[in-house]
């Protein structure tokens, strides 16, 4: 039987190309992602191993807050450096100051964008050789204020040379510094593509942190002293000297901790990409299942003959399974190799340090086993069906048409659909997105179950205009599309998945945008927003707000500054602003006042409800490295504002600027809202404001419309990314359509021959095949759009209070998707249509 399977495989290899391609593409994606992650992990492991190679102990604050982008840690007092140095076994120690700094190039643009790419670090030059992973390639170290060194990558990118004046934006200001040296990191121009600016210790403290404070202190041990010994020694010394609020860890610990931090951030990325690889493979399941089903149906006679001459069911089944396994294995192996190419490509795109790909056995095994399993699972049902072919079928005329119009199946599917829709609706109204997700999954399953029943009516409906326009060719296309409902629906389902997800993303996107537009239209009464443009990482100096306020045309300015904080014991974020923010954003007070006086706290209605707070309640509020005495670290709830209209408002916890600035060591503004005086036009004021903001390369001055566009632009980036990632799934589905059409054409060889004999022109044959493909792909597209619409509505409605005030159907994109769906059908049919029109009439009529 193995021989039969192999012969079968060789005889039908053309028919299995799509199966092969579907497996290979999915596995390529998956393997590429896994290898790329492993490679990135390895290069970051190497990177931090290098950074901390000679670091034996690290002293740092024991105060950590959970922030939005990972934990943030407090700073330590510089005065403990001598204590560390004096500890037994310490050869040398140095303080480090880490922060963000943005180099500005010769055109006045920021170099790199920490929100999108590698980070832009600012730090101090460390004189202790062992603790400084950088080597000067040019010039010298900074020795006094106003001098910097930068990494060689940034120098190359900008063309700055030693001796140049380089503007650098920090959270405090934009200043120009003299470039005195250029460094590299080991053999790399920069570690992981990040940009680095290094000042003297004193200046770094001033620009990046606080005078007299370090981010951490690193120490090198004397020869023969172990990391553990020197760490214990430092710990003891500090304790004896009464230093509190610090912890001491070994060099090995800091290395591992940093490595695992990066890994967990990368794993998010890996999972994100793997999701799309899995979707692609899932689509592949439909394509592979369909290929095998059709092939088995077409080989009914062959199977029956085998059975008639004594093959057992199990043997027939095994023959199909072996065929699937061979195709699956070949596809997976080739796919993985293609994945290596993909990883190399992406690696160079992400500027990973060279050193080759990290091909770990786990990645190889996971990818190939997944590809193999996907193929096997997809082929199992067709294989079982092959084994059910009765020996008598060898004598009968081949009857391929399995109608799939099982009423039971349809009714069950319909019931599941109704239940799924009900769950979506209840989740949507009950504002539970996870319930909506469950409902959407049921809707998907129900569509898979009922779509064979839908294939005929839907292709009849979609085909009606085609039949009218294209005459008999259209008529035949319509009937052919509805001919094998199971085949048509399985083909369409593959497309439905990709289109459905794209449609879903479009619905979400358009609804977010519409919601934002509505919120801004309804509530933003200001004229401009100055945005720091780096997700607040570098931020804007607070002087920007004061300078704008000083402009004669400006009536009101409200900055928003954020800081990690502990409120009532919970790690959260507190916003500092002035009373003007409530005016400019039209936030209505439900209770109390929005004055934001000293010691006052304004909270949202939803926070008041969830935390059970009322006006006059006292709440402990402390910031990271809070500079206020402990006694002042309490605020009184003075106002409650309505956040139901404005999508969360400006934040759950709001304090006045004075309180904020008194507590937070490094203050920067994320956004500044500006309102002009009456009678001053936007175009009149814009140049003045631009002039104030101009030195800050990352900052953008935006009118309300520009602000909307900017938010829309950020959303579009993610939208496009997801659509591109889903494109692979759609492509696999298109392969599936092409395959189904090609196999159907093969199966109808005699019929086509007959049509040609009685006078159908080649053009008409092509048209018939093409329109059949178009009808099938439109079927899938329509199902996908419906699915995307239902799921999108459910999610949007369930998140009504989280910023999705408006549900909007993206009509334009939907129309485009439908058109693309039709074109996809045309594309998929080109080859089969051409082949169908070329067949020899006589041979076709005589064909089995």
């Amino acid at each position: 039987m193995l021989k039969v399977a192999l012969r079968g495989l060789m005889a039908h290899k053309a028919r299995l190309i799509t199966t092969f391609a579907a497996v290979a593409l999915g596995v390529a994606f998956m393997g590429g992602v896994l290898v790329l992650t492993d490679t990135m992990n390895r290069s970051f492991d190497d990177l931090f191993a290098d950074v901390f190679r000679d670091t034996d102990a690290v002293v740092r604050s024991d105060q950590t807050f959970e922030g939005d982008f990972g934990d943030v840690r407090g700073r330590i007092d510089a005065s403990i450096l001598p204590d560390v140095e004096s500890a037994d076994g310490v050869k040398a120690a140095a303080g480090g100051i880490d922060g963000y700094a943005q180099i500005i190039d010769k055109d006045g643009d920021a170099v790199g964008d920490p929100a999108m790419g590698a980070p832009t670090f600012g730090t101090n030059w460390v004189d202790v050789d062992e603790l400084n992973p950088f080597d000067l390639t040019d010039g010298r170290a900074p020795e006094s204020d106003g001098e910097i060194v930068i990494d060689r990558k940034s120098a190359k990118d900008t063309g700055y040379q030693v001796g140049d004046e380089v503007p650098v934006q920090t959270s405090g200001s934009v200043d120009t510094f003299e470039l005195v040296g250029i460094v590299r990191f080991g053999t790399a121009d920069s570690p992981g593509g990040a940009s680095y600016v290094m000042w003297t210790e004193a200046e770094a403290q001033q620009l990046l942190g606080e005078a007299g404070r370090y981010t951490s202190i690193s120490a090198v041990a004397d020869d023969g002293v172990s990391q553990r010994e020197v760490t214990d020694s430092i710990e003891t010394t500090l304790r004896d000297d009464g230093v509190t609020g610090v912890e001491v860890i070994t060099g090995k610990e800091i290395t591992e901790e940093t490595q695992s931090d990066i890994k967990s951030q990368l794993s998010f990325l890996t999972i994100f990409f793997l999701v799309f690889a899995i979707i692609a493979l899932f689509v592949g399941v439909f394509v592979i299942y369909n290929s095998f089903s059709i092939i088995v149906a077409q080989r009914t006679r062959e199977m029956a003959l085998l059975r008639a001459i004594g093959a057992r069911r199990r043997q027939v089944r095994r023959a199909v399974v072996v065929e699937a396994m061979i195709v699956g294995l070949a596809g997976s192996v080739l796919g993985f190799i293609a994945g290596l190419g993909l990883a190399t490509l992406l690696g160079s795109f992400l500027q990973l340090p060279s050193g080759g790909l990290a091909i770990l056995p786990t990645a190889v095994i996971i990818s190939i086993v997944t590809g193999l399993l996907v193929t096997l699972v997809s082929a199992l049902l067709p294989a079982w069906r092959a084994s059910r072919v009765p020996p008598l079928a060898a004598m009968r005329d081949v009857a391929v048409d399995r109608t799939g119009r099982s009423p039971v199946r349809f009714v069950v599917g319909l019931a599941v659909l109704v239940i799924g829709l009900a769950i979506v609706v209840s989740g949507a109204l009950g504002q539970k997105p996870s319930t909506v997700g469950l409902g959407a999954a049921l809707v998907f399953v129900s569509l898979v179950v009922i779509s064979p029943g839908l294939a005929r009516p839907v292709s009849r409906a979609l085909g009606a205009p085609v039949a009218r326009l294209r005459g008999v060719a259209g008529r035949l296309a319509k009937d052919n599309a509805g001919r094998n409902p199971k085949r048509t629906s399985a083909t369409a389902q593959a497309l439905m998945i990709g289109v459905g997800l794209v449609a879903f993303i479009f619905v979400i996107n358009s609804s977010i945008r519409a919601s934002i537009d509505k919120t801004l239209d309804e509530s933003f009464v200001g004229d401009f927003v100055v945005d720091s443009g780096t997700f607040g990482m570098v931020g804007l100096p607070t002087t920007v707000a004061t300078d704008i306020e000083a402009l004669p045309d400006v009536a009101l300015v409200s900055p928003l500054r954020f800081s990690p904080a502990k409120v009532g014991g919970d790690d959260t974020s507190v916003v500092g602003t002035n009373t003007g923010a409530f005016q400019l954003l039209d936030l209505k007070m439900v209770d109390g006042s929005d004055e934001l006086g000293p010691g006052q706290l304004v909270i949202t209605q939803s926070k008041a409800d969830s935390a059970d707070l009322a006006i006059g309640d006292e709440v402990p509020v402390s910031f990271l490295d809070d500079r206020r005495p402990a006694a002042d670290q309490t605020a009184t709830v003075a106002g409650i504002y309505d956040d139901s209209t404005a999508a969360g408002g400006i934040g759950s916890w709001v304090v006045g600027l004075d309180d904020f600035d008194a507590a937070v060591p490094t203050v920067t503004d994320a956004q500044v809202f500006v309102q002009l005086r009456d009678g001053v036009s936007v175009s009149q004021a814009e140049p003045e404001i631009e002039r104030v903001v101009e030195p800050y390369a990352t900052a953008k001055v935006q009118s309300v419309d520009e602000y909307k566009d900017a938010i829309g632009g950020q959303l579009d980036f993610f939208l496009n990314l997801i659509v591109v990632l889903l494109a692979l799934s759609v492509f696999i589905a298109v392969l599936g359509i092409g395959n189904t059409i090609a196999l159907s054409v093969l199966e109808r060889t005699r019929e086509l021959g007959l049509l040609r004999a009685v006078g159908m022109r080649r053009r008409q044959v092509r048209s018939t095949v093409r329109w059949e493909a178009v009808i099938i792909s439109l079927f899938g597209t329509v199902l996908g759009l419906a699915f995307g619409l239902v799921g999108g509505w459910g999610i949007v409605r369930s998140l009504r209070d989280e910023g999705f005030g408006v549900f909007e159907v993206p009509i334009g994109p939907f129309v485009i998707l439908a058109v693309v769906g039709a074109l996809v059908g045309v594309g998929a049919s080109i080859l089969p249509a051409w082949r169908a029109s070329r067949m020899n009439v006589l041979e076709a009529i005589g064909a089995e």
């Binding site: 007959l754 009685v758 006078g759 080649r762």
Partner: protein, 267 residues
């Protein structure tokens, strides 16, 4: 029953005699072959399927083409119908030399001037009987001559089954639909390739009777390839092929005479 390996007696006269409308009344034959030669393969493996065949298919006439397997009767029909091309010689439908036509022109000729009835698989399964009958007209985008169609349908005796799909019809009924389809566009000539080959004798008789009426009552021209002497007895003329040549012809054939003649090939 016959042994094609045995060399048959030559009927040299037949081809030449047949040329100028020997039997029929029409001045121009519906189809004509002049020195038609068809060779499959080349060199040592070459097989001569048609060997310099010249024959007229007179208009308004029911001609049966007979011969043992491999005699070239199907090849002759395929070439005359424009489904296959010749290696040498010419075939005409009316005045049109098929050798001059491009692939697309041939298709149009088949659509407009030629009707086909095959042994099996004669209908498009997704179309109803009525739609199958009209298929050549719809393909051409021509409007039907309703009166003519009504006559054809009436003659088939299938008026009440027109809305059915082929799978819901018996073999004989399917074949009657196929003949009706061939008649629908009033082609110059209809070629039928073993139309009764897949049918039981009763259904076969129905079809043959129907074809004869189409010729007698509607003035159609039909050329039928068959190896069944009984079927040939419905024709006006029977042509006999052997080894790619026309070896005999018989007017008003009867089953017995045909059988006798065929037996003589085997001797």
């Amino acid at each position: 029953m016959e042994n094609p390996a045995d060399s048959p007696p030559p009927f040299a006269a037949s081809a030449a005699d047949a040329t100028p409308g020997a039997v029929g009344t029409a001045p121009t034959p519906a189809a004509r072959a002049v020195g038609a030669t068809k060779v499959y393969g080349s060199g040592d493996t070459a097989v001569v399927a048609l060997d310099d065949v010249s024959v007229d298919m007179p208009s308004g006439h029911f001609t049966a083409v007979m011969g043992p397997s491999g005699s070239g009767k199907s090849t002759l029909m395929h070439c005359m119908a424009g489904l296959d091309s010749l290696t040498g010689g010419q075939v005409f439908i009316g005045d049109q030399d098929l050798g001059d036509l491009s692939e697309d022109e041939l298709t149009l000729l088949r659509r407009d001037k030629v009707g086909f009835v095959f042994q099996a698989f004669n209908l498009v399964p997704t179309l109803t009987a009525a739609e199958n009958i009209r298929l050549p007209l719809t393909l051409a985008g021509r409007s039907a001559d309703e009166e003519w169609l009504a006559t054809v349908v009436k003659t088939t005796g299938l008026a009440d089954r027109l809305g059915h799909r082929p799978s819901e019809l018996s073999g004989g009924q399917q074949q009657r639909v196929a003949v009706a389809r061939a008649l629908a566009s009033r082609p110059q000539i209809i070629f039928a390739d073993e139309p009764t080959g897949n049918l039981d004798s009763r259904s076969g008789t129905e079809i043959l009777d129907f074809m004869r009426r189409a010729v007698r009552e509607m003035g159609q021209t039909i050329v039928m390839v068959t190896h069944d002497p009984g079927a040939a007895s419905y024709a006006d003329t029977a042509l006999f092929l052997n080894d790619g040549r026309i070896v005999d012809r018989m007017e008003q054939p009867t089953a017995e005479r045909v059988l006798d003649l065929l037996k003589s090939f085997g001797e």
